[in-house]
Each structure stands twice: as structure tokens, then as C-alpha cells.
């Protein structure tokens, strides 16, 4: 066997090995993708079927025609000749899962919390990196130290304290604490250390710019990438926060999306499976759509390692 033939063969077998490996990996990835997407697909499909159809055969893989009817049930907008049972179902679902109010509540909480989190975290990070003061090291150590304390640990005292301040059924205990977000500060400090030149602060001082104005007009625009990533994560985690919201918001008028879902889940009579699925779909869709629009930023943000709830 000549040398050329021998090496040629090895090269071929090397290539075929890599091809085989690539194909195997591709297949595994496709399976995992299906595991991630199929539950969502089935959920959406099922929300387009009527309860009667689902009772007949719950194993549905294709879209049905009852989406409109399910939405009408959920909005308690039944035709006048609807039966008593149907009216009871519609009444139950529409009172637990109120589309407009629930989304508005979630949006208010998540929106304001996000604004407060990113603004005050940027401000704290700026204070810690730009100024050299006696307690700055201690303050930063404290922030890293408390970063990992779980909410559950202080929640018993938190509820009791909020109760004594008459802040149960109020958005304040859900929004104002967002000012203090140690993990976000940690992320922003590391971002500033790597990509915020302190000379710019000196320069603006020489130009007579006040300290706070320097922060607002120079630092914030320069920190935009970090702020954007953290804003996305803060919004998602506040939107999804069932634990604290359920603890504070006892009144149905203040229910947020996760609370409404948990209420629908707790029904034990007058259940309409189609509407059940519709409620869950409605709670998932907005966040999934926003995710796919912003996915590039989100993946990059996770890769930076700043976020793990």
C-alpha cells in the first residue's frame, strides 16, 4: 500500500467519523428541541378545542375550531340562550382570570420594578466604582455577601411587617424593594470596571458638570448595554414572581397573571378543559413572543454569567 493511499484512507475514515458524530448530535438536539416545544404546541392546540371535544378524545394534535368560543367563555360573553351550566363555567373562569386587569397589574408591577432596579442598581454601581470612599470596599463586600440570600428566608417577617404597615394588597411591597437588587449591582459593577473609563468623569468635572448630572447624562448612556440586559431579566423575573405576589396580593382585584393561573389550577368543579388550556396559553404567549424577539440579547446576557435566580 502506498503512503498516499494509506493516509487517504485514514483521512476518509476521520471525515466519516466526524460526519457520523455531527449527525448523532444533530438528532439529539432535534429531540431536545421537540421536548421543549411540543408541550407548548399541544397547549396551544388544546386551547382551540371545546370541552366536549376534549372529553371525547383528549389526545388532540391538530388545531380545532373552538378558540373563539373559549375566548367568549373566558370573557363571560355568552349568547343569551346559553345553558345554566355554561353560564356557571363562564362566571367562574372570568372572575378568576380577568384578562385586562391581571395583565395590567402584572405590567405595572414588572414595569415599575424593572425601572427602579436598573436605575438604582446603575446608580449604586456608579457610586461604588467612580468614588473612592472609606466604606466602598465594605459596601461592595456586603452586596456580594447578601446576593445569595433567598427571599423565602425573610418572607415570614416580611409579610408580618407589611401587615403591620397596612401594605397587604398593595403594590408597594412588590415594587419599592426592587430598588435593592444586589445581583444586578454586582453585574453592573463588573461591567463598569471593564468598560467605563473613569477619565470621562474627570473630564466632565473639569467642564463643570455636577456629579449627579454626569451620572444621568454620561454614565447611563454609556451603560446602556448592561442596562438593557438587566432590564430584560428584571422584567421577566418580576413578571414570573409568583411567590411574593401571592404572599402580598390577597384581593382578587390585585391578582397578577401567575396568581390567576394558580387560581384556575385550583378549580375542582365546573372545569372546562379547553378554557383551562386557553388561560395557560394566554399567560405564556406574551412572554414567549417577547423572548423570541429579544432572544439574542438574552442568550448573550446569560452567557455573561450574571444571572441565575
Amino acid at each position: 500500500m502506498s503512503m498516499k493511499e494509506q493516509y487517504g484512507q485514514q483521512k476518509d475514515s476521520y471525515h466519516s467519523k466526524i460526519m457520523a458524530k455531527s449527525i448523532a448530535i444533530f438528532v439529539v438536539c432535534v429531540i431536545l428541541t421537540l421536548i421543549c416545544l411540543v408541550p407548548i404546541y399541544i397547549l396551544i392546540v388544546n386551547s382551540t378545542h371545546a370541552h366536549m371535544d376534549l372529553a371525547q378524545n383528549p389526545s388532540r394534535f391538530f388545531f380545532g375550531k373552538s378558540l373563539g368560543a373559549n375566548i367568549k367563555t373566558l370573557m363571560n360573553d355568552l349568547p343569551a340562550d346559553a345553558g345554566k351550566a355554561a353560564k356557571r363555567v363562564a362566571q367562574q373562569y372570568s372572575s378568576a382570570f380577568s384578562l385586562g386587569r391581571g395583565y395590567l397589574n402584572s405590567l405595572i408591577i414588572a414595569g415599575f420594578s424593572t425601572l427602579l432596579t436598573v436605575f438604582f442598581s446603575a446608580m449604586t454601581a456608579y457610586g461604588l466604582t467612580v468614588y473612592d470612599f472609606k466604606l466602598s470596599g465594605a459596601a461592595y463586600t456586603f452586596i456580594i455577601g447578601v446576593m445569595m440570600i433567598p427571599v423565602q428566608v425573610s418572607s415570614a417577617g416580611f409579610v408580618r411587617f407589611m401587615y403591620s404597615l397596612h401594605l397587604i394588597n398593595s403594590f408597594i411591597p412588590l415594587i419599592v424593594p426592587a430598588i435593592a437588587a444586589p445581583a444586578v449591582i454586582f453585574f453592573m459593577v463588573s461591567y463598569m470596571k471593564s468598560s467605563f473609563p473613569l477619565e470621562i468623569v474627570e473630564a466632565s468635572r473639569i467642564d463643570g458638570c455636577g456629579e449627579f448630572r454626569t451620572f444621568i447624562t454620561i454614565a447611563i448612556p454609556m451603560m446602556k448595554p448592561a442596562i438593557a440586559v438587566q432590564a430584560i431579566f428584571a422584567f421577566v423575573s418580576n413578571w414570573n414572581n409568583y411567590y411574593t405576589q401571592n404572599m402580598i396580593l390577597k384581593n382578587a382585584d390585585y391578582a397578577t397573571v401567575p396568581i390567576m393561573v394558580s387560581k384556575v389550577l385550583a378549580f375542582d368543579k365546573n372545569i372546562d378543559n379547553g378554557v383551562n388550556y386557553l388561560c395557560i396559553t394566554l399567560s405564556i404567549i406574551p412572554i414567549v413572543v417577547v423572548y423570541f424577539i429579544l432572544s439574542k440579547f438574552i442568550i448573550a446576557g446569560v452567557a455573561l454569567g450574571g444571572v441565575k435566580e
Partner: protein, 342 residues
């Protein structure tokens, strides 16, 4: 590098702004986090329900940890807490092991330069997706797909395909429901862990892999001799954050149930705490037990947290600080010798 004198001038004139910038954080943090934490600590020494104003010392701790106490249901309370602690550990372990193995495998595959994988970006995006969905909705989704009777999707499909003869109790069976929660947790988190590990692997210098390639190491050898040892810090970080996250596991175990009440078979410590401070009215809940359980969790978290803190500390900054102190000392010594004035 600014001289010591320059630094001193800067600190004299601008230090107060530093305090002003960090003040809001500390005020809010103390009000909404530190005080509730101290208050929880105080509550853990007080009685439960109607007896909640009385000081009972360590009784709550001895009740939930050892079942000793004067209250009627001391033994039952201890049994419940012990079970919750056990469940927390089982559920955490059962989701962490498959999750880290799967994530590690995927991360290695995705960062392997030799593998030609079309649609890598798409796979990453889809695999991360479950992580951003509201956990409450995820629980509701799985309860509605995996319901116990033949009226739910999975059981109906399995029956239609004649794979099973009886519907499987995915939600109420003690073992099945735990496996379901482990599966869902893995489903939620593997994408996140994968991306974290990927960024860790991409931080490893590619020349190491090239050198190993030339020396004839196959990919298994490369994984165990290069990737895994160099990934150790990020693995420890993942492990500890996952353990702390596991201690907080609430939404899924609490909501994965049929009907109005949570499943006792899935009760974690977080559920235990929540359940106790929601018993009865807001004034008369079992704050004592909830507080004691919280403080125990806090102690565990503090130990775990200090491990990561120790492993992740900024070595450069510590070295710099030491240098600075040394320089300052020298400066002072020189000044004492006289002749040097600033």
C-alpha cells in the same frame, strides 16, 4: 496610576457623593430585607397561632428539628418538617444530576469546533426558552397535560396507542409526582446551565485543544483531561447556586397538584414556610415554625454561599489592596524620617 496624594485629594472632595449614590440601595435593603430577616429571627423565638405574642425561647427549633415541645402536635410538626427537608433534597438531587450531565454534554458538543452543527443558534434559543416561562404556568401546563385520568392528554394518548392499560397517576402518586417535578425542573433549567457552561468552555484557550489534537488525544480524553479540570470553578459555582436555588424551590412543588390544596408528597421547605405563615389569619399564622424553618434555611444558605464567595473572590483586587497598603506604610515611614512634605 494616580499617586497616593492624588488619591487622597479625590477621596476628600468626592467621598460624600459616593455615599449619596449608594444610600438608596442601603436604605431600601435594610427596610425591606434586613429588618424582615431580623424580624423573622425574632418570630422564630415566639409562639404560634393564638399564642403568637408569647416568648417561647428555642422551643420552635426543638419542635421542628427533634419533635420535642409542649405543643400538642410537636411530633407531627417535626415529621412534616423532616419530610419537607427530605423532599427538598430528593427533588434537588433528582433534577440537578440529569440537568448537569445533559448541559455538560450539550455544552461540549456546541463548543466543539470540529462538529458541524447547522442551526446551533436556534437550538440554543429554543433550549433556553422554558427558563423564561412563568413557573406557575409551567406547573399548570404539566398538570393539564399529565393529569391522572384518561381525560388528560398524555394518558389519553398512551391509552389510544395501547402502551398502557390503565391511566398512570402522574400527579397524585408519591413517586411519579416527584419524578415529574424533577423532569420539569430539568426542562426549565438545562438550557440556562448549558449556556453558562458554554461560556466557561469558550474561556478555555483553544490552543490547548489543538495541542491535544496534534498529540492524538480523542474527544473523550480531551473532555476528561482538559475541559473538566479547567471548568471546575464554574462547576462549583453552578453546583452551589443550584443548591441554593433548590432550597428555594417553591412554585412547581406548590402548584403541581390536583384540586385546591398542594400535594404533601411534594412539600419542600419553602412550601413548608409559606404554608405555616399563611395558616389562618395574617395576625395568627404559625410564624414561630415558619421563622425557625427560615433561619435553618438561612444557616444552610450562608454556609453554601460562603463557599462560592471564597472560591469566586477577586484575587487581583486583594493583591492590589495589599500592595496599596504596603505603599502607604512606606510613604508614612518616609514622612516620619522627615524631609518629605506633600
Amino acid at each position: 496610576m494616580a499617586s497616593a496624594a492624588q488619591r487622597r485629594i479625590k477621596s476628600i472632595s468626592y467621598a460624600k457623593y459616593g455615599y449619596m449614590f449608594i444610600a438608596p440601595f442601603f436604605l431600601v435593603y435594610c427596610f425591606f430585607q434586613i429588618w424582615p430577616l431580623i424580624y423573622t429571627f425574632i418570630l422564630s423565638f415566639k409562639g404560634n397561632q393564638a399564642n403568637n405574642a408569647a416568648f417561647v425561647g428555642m422551643e420552635n427549633y426543638s419542635t421542628i428539628l427533634f419533635g420535642k415541645g409542649s405543643s400538642a402536635g410537636a411530633a407531627a410538626t417535626h415529621a412534616e418538617f423532616a419530610k419537607a427537608l427530605g423532599n427538598t433534597f430528593i427533588l434537588w438531587f433528582g433534577n440537578f444530576i440529569p440537568q448537569i450531565l445533559l448541559s455538560l454534554l450539550l455544552a461540549v458538543w456546541f463548543t466543539d469546533a470540529k462538529v458541524k452543527l447547522p442551526g446551533k443558534g436556534f437550538f440554543k434559543i429554543v433550549m433556553y426558552m422554558p427558563n423564561i416561562i412563568t413557573a406557575a404556568s409551567v406547573a399548570a401546563l404539566y398538570v393539564n397535560l399529565f393529569g391522572d385520568s384518561k381525560n388528560y392528554f398524555i394518558n389519553a394518548t398512551l391509552l389510544n396507542m395501547h402502551l398502557v392499560s390503565e391511566p398512570i397517576k402522574f400527579v397524585t402518586d408519591p413517586v411519579n409526582s416527584k419524578i415529574m417535578v424533577m423532569f420539569i425542573q430539568t426542562w426549565l433549567w438545562f438550557g440556562n446551565t448549558m449556556i453558562m457552561l458554554m461560556s466557561g468552555i469558550m474561556g478555555i484557550s483553544p490552543s490547548l485543544f489543538e495541542a491535544a489534537d496534534i498529540d492524538g488525544a480523542n474527544s473523550t480524553q480531551q473532555f476528561f483531561k482538559i475541559t473538566l479540570p479547567l471548568l471546575q470553578p464554574i462547576m462549583v459555582y453552578t453546583l452551589v447556586t443550584s443548591m441554593i436555588g433548590g432550597l428555594q424551590m417553591f412554585d412547581l412543588p406548590y402548584l403541581f397538584h390536583n384540586g385546591a390544596n398542594f400535594s404533601k408528597e411534594l412539600e419542600t421547605v419553602a412550601v413548608y414556610i409559606y404554608y405555616n405563615f399563611n395558616k389562618g389569619t395574617v395576625e395568627q399564622a404559625s410564624y414561630g415554625y415558619a421563622g425557625a424553618a427560615s433561619i435553618i434555611i438561612f444557616a444552610i444558605t450562608a454556609v453554601l454561599g460562603s463557599i462560592t464567595f471564597y472560591m469566586n473572590r477577586d484575587k487581583d483586587a486583594i493583591a492590589k489592596k495589599k500592595q496599596r497598603k504596603k505603599a502607604e506604610k512606606q510613604m508614612k515611614a518616609k514622612m516620619k524620617q522627615g524631609g518629605l512634605t506633600i
